[in-house]
């Protein structure tokens, strides 16, 4: 079966299985070929994290059951194939939300563990792994162990890119929250304005995220829209219309600097100058803005695209972000739109992405020069002491990875105990030499 990362730069021909019960998961692990096995469900990792060309891929789509919910404490136990969008759909009407959601509702609980995902509220809420009461991990031997926060294997599994085994269930603390948010949007003129706005939002807003016109240069460098949002009690939102789907491959030239520059200007001008605008939207629309457009990755055409996401520590955030945006704005093929957020602290996982700082993310179409541009961005992030996010990455070098993730040695030690015979494996793990140097 041919599988690809969401950016469609990476793809692999792989053997696949799709267990429907735990005993079938155990059987698949027992029959692992030499290239190992990796769990996959949503396919929303952009690069090669959920690809395993040398071995087998275990599709967790059918492991999608909710196992228990306690409305007193908000504790939910569920299987790994449940998507975060589904949780929002089921629990928002009951007054609960997942404490942390990434930018797409098609991401699953299993993937959220493997990448220790963060949302637009990281300063306040931390990342996904901070809200787990326990994890059931089926190790390569087929034995299920319940892991609690604090155990070494828990820390290796959260953010561990699926290499410690297959999560068969987990308990997540949902939070009481209304089903709508009041979103405030305002225009920001440049990068300094953004950093000041985000610094303020950190202290005052529940959710915050910025959209930067990555084509703007010079005095307009870093201009965009800052969105902040607060939960509001609102009448139940109208049921969502069926999403539009991108029916086929868009031609590669559709997204070019001219068309996107025009889009960016219009996108920015939706928001009035000065006071900006405020509106109330259902949480799903705020959390998952692109989900209404199914298969939006086809917009980039057959060649696909890279997504680059990094975090820059607060001390170097300003210089690092400026260098990145300059590099991207004048580079070829460049990027179109960047997303900027703040992160509050390190995650619990040994390979968790977050650190206190500013995170920037942008798409780079796969055209001539894309790789050189990504390498230049990687150097800037290394100089700033930052990190590249493995959920997005398809390009990082093993050396840079080891430098960016200082707890890698501890991860390798935990992995050597959990999976001594290297039964788990992925293209990402081999590229970054995650198991051993």
């Amino acid at each position: 079966m041919r599988l690809a990362g969401w950016g469609r730069v990476c793809a692999a021909e792989t053997l696949a299985c799709r267990p429907e019960r735990l005993r079938e998961v155990a059987a698949a692990l027992a029959a692992t070929p030499s290239g190992g096995i990796i769990a996959r469900r949503g396919g929303r990792s952009y690069g090669d994290a959920a690809l395993n060309g040398a071995g087998r891929t275990l599709l967790t789509r059918r492991l999608d059951r909710l196992l228990a919910f306690d409305p007193e404490s908000g504790l939910l136990a569920a299987e790994p194939g449940v998507t975060l969008g589904e949780l929002v759909r089921i629990f928002a009407p009951r007054g609960f939300l997942p404490p942390v959601v990434p930018g797409t509702g098609f991401a699953t609980l299993g993937g959220a563990v493997a990448m220790d995902v963060h949302g637009k509220n990281h300063d306040r809420a931390g990342s996904f792994g901070d809200h787990l009461a326990w994890l059931d991990l089926m190790g390569p031997s087929g034995e299920v162990r319940r892991l609690a926060p604090g155990e070494p294997l828990f820390a290796a599994t959260v953010g561990g890119a699926g290499l410690t085994g297959v999560v068969t269930a987990l308990a997540l603390r949902l939070v009481r929250a209304p089903a709508a948010v009041g979103v405030r949007e305002r225009r920001i003129g440049d990068l300094d304005g953004f950093l000041a706005g985000l610094a303020e939002a950190r202290a005052t807003a529940t959710y915050s995220v910025g959209w930067i016109d990555a084509l703007a240069r010079g005095r307009g460098l870093g201009r965009g829209i800052l969105e902040t949002a607060e939960p509001v009690e609102a009448p139940p939102p109208a049921p969502a219309r069926g999403g539009l789907a991108i029916p086929c491959e868009a031609p590669g030239w559709l997204l070019n600097k001219a068309s996107v520059a025009a889009f960016n200007v219009l996108y920015r001008r939706r928001v009035p100058r000065g006071g900006g605008r405020e509106r109330v939207v259902p949480v799903a629309r705020f959390f998952f803005p692109l989900d209404a457009l199914c298969a939006w990755n086809r917009l980039y055409g057959r060649a696909g695209f890279h997504q680059f996401q990094c975090v820059l520590p607060d001390a170097h955030a300003e210089t690092g972000a400026r260098r990145l945006l300059e590099t991207v704005a004048k580079g070829r093929p460049g990027a179109f739109l960047a997303v900027i957020k703040t992160l509050g602290g390190e995650g619990r996982g040994l390979l968790s992405f977050p650190m206190p700082g500013v995170t920037l993310a942008f798409d780079v179409p796969r055209r001539g020069g894309a790789e050189a541009l990504l390498d230049a961005c990687e150097r800037i992030v290394r100089d700033a002491g930052g990190r590249v996010y493995l959920a997005k990455d398809a390009r990082l070098s093993a050396a840079a990875f080891a430098e960016m993730y200082p707890r890698l040695e501890a991860f390798r030690e935990a992995l050597a105990i959990a999976d001594p015979n290297a039964r788990m494996g992925s293209d990402l793990a081999r590229r970054l030499r995650m198991r051993e140097p």
Binding site: C17, R18, E20, R23, R65, L66, L67
Partner: protein, 244 residues
């Protein structure tokens, strides 16, 4: 209030069916062999839909246990509806090489179904209410080179259901036969040559709707009715030469 008794409730279509029935406001009894797995499915139904969902052990080939099973089902209050989903399918080459596997195919798919339905029929008859839906297969439409032992069991099941339908019609209990084409299940995952495949959710919705309307026969997906028609029309002299 109707309680749907789902036989072979671990399969993906049965799971989707149970969710569809629970979403429609019904209670569920999940019957099958893998108690741990069924427990997870029952928990899922009660968390999602706040319905009652019980697990009752059931083995299609434990014929002697079927009386006790039916007796237990008979204690359920309110209307009882039965959905039969269990089945096994082995590659024909394996079945040809191992007669025991051929016997087992018939034991589960045909004997098991007849045995449990024969025990449950009087329960529904006595109440003069409820309904039955059972999943047959396109394989039962005509004996084919690539799948004829499984096909013969499903053909037998189809004939049995025809008779049962006539009997239970007299008690006001509709019996629906599902003729399943390609469904995206564990049975068919990774098989070559699949086309017009339905998701478990789409199949389940169609099966539930047909059962609730008391339809006699329903093709799932619907287009397979025309494929079945063509299959039936090919003369036997030609059909035996086809490698399908």
């Amino acid at each position: 209030m109707t309680t749907w008794v789902v036989l072979g409730a671990s399969s993906s279509v049965a799971r989707a069916f149970a969710r569809a029935a629970a979403a429609a406001g019904h209670d569920l009894v999940l019957a099958g062999r893998d108690g741990e797995d069924l427990g997870r499915s029952a928990a899922d139904l009660s968390v999602r839909f706040a319905c009652a969902a019980d697990v009752v052990p059931f083995d299609a080939t434990d014929y002697h246990g079927h009386a006790a099973f039916a007796e237990r089902i008979g204690r359920i209050e309110g209307e009882i509806a039965v959905a039969l989903f269990f089945g096994v399918m082995h590659p024909q080459a394996c079945v040809d090489a191992d007669v025991a596997l051929a016997r087992r195919t018939i034991a589960v798919n045909y004997l098991g179904a007849v045995s449990v339905l024969a025990h449950l029929a009087p329960v529904l008859e006595a109440r003069r209410g409820g309904r039955i839906v059972a999943v047959g297969s396109m394989a039962g439409v005509r004996g084919r080179l690539s799948n004829y032992v499984y096909g013969s069991a499903k053909a037998g099941l189809a004939a049995y259901l025809q008779g049962l339908r006539a009997r239970l019609w007299r008690a006001g209990v509709p019996v629906t036969t599902v003729v399943a084409g390609f469904l995206d299940t564990a049975m068919t995952f990774g098989l070559p040559g699949m086309f017009l495949v339905a998701t478990p959710e789409a199949a389940a919705a169609r099966i539930l709707a047909a059962a609730e309307r008391g339809r006699e026969v329903v093709y799932v997906p619907g287009f397979w009715r025309w494929i079945a028609l063509v299959l039936r029309l090919v003369p036997e002299r030609l059909f035996k030469r086809l490698a399908i």
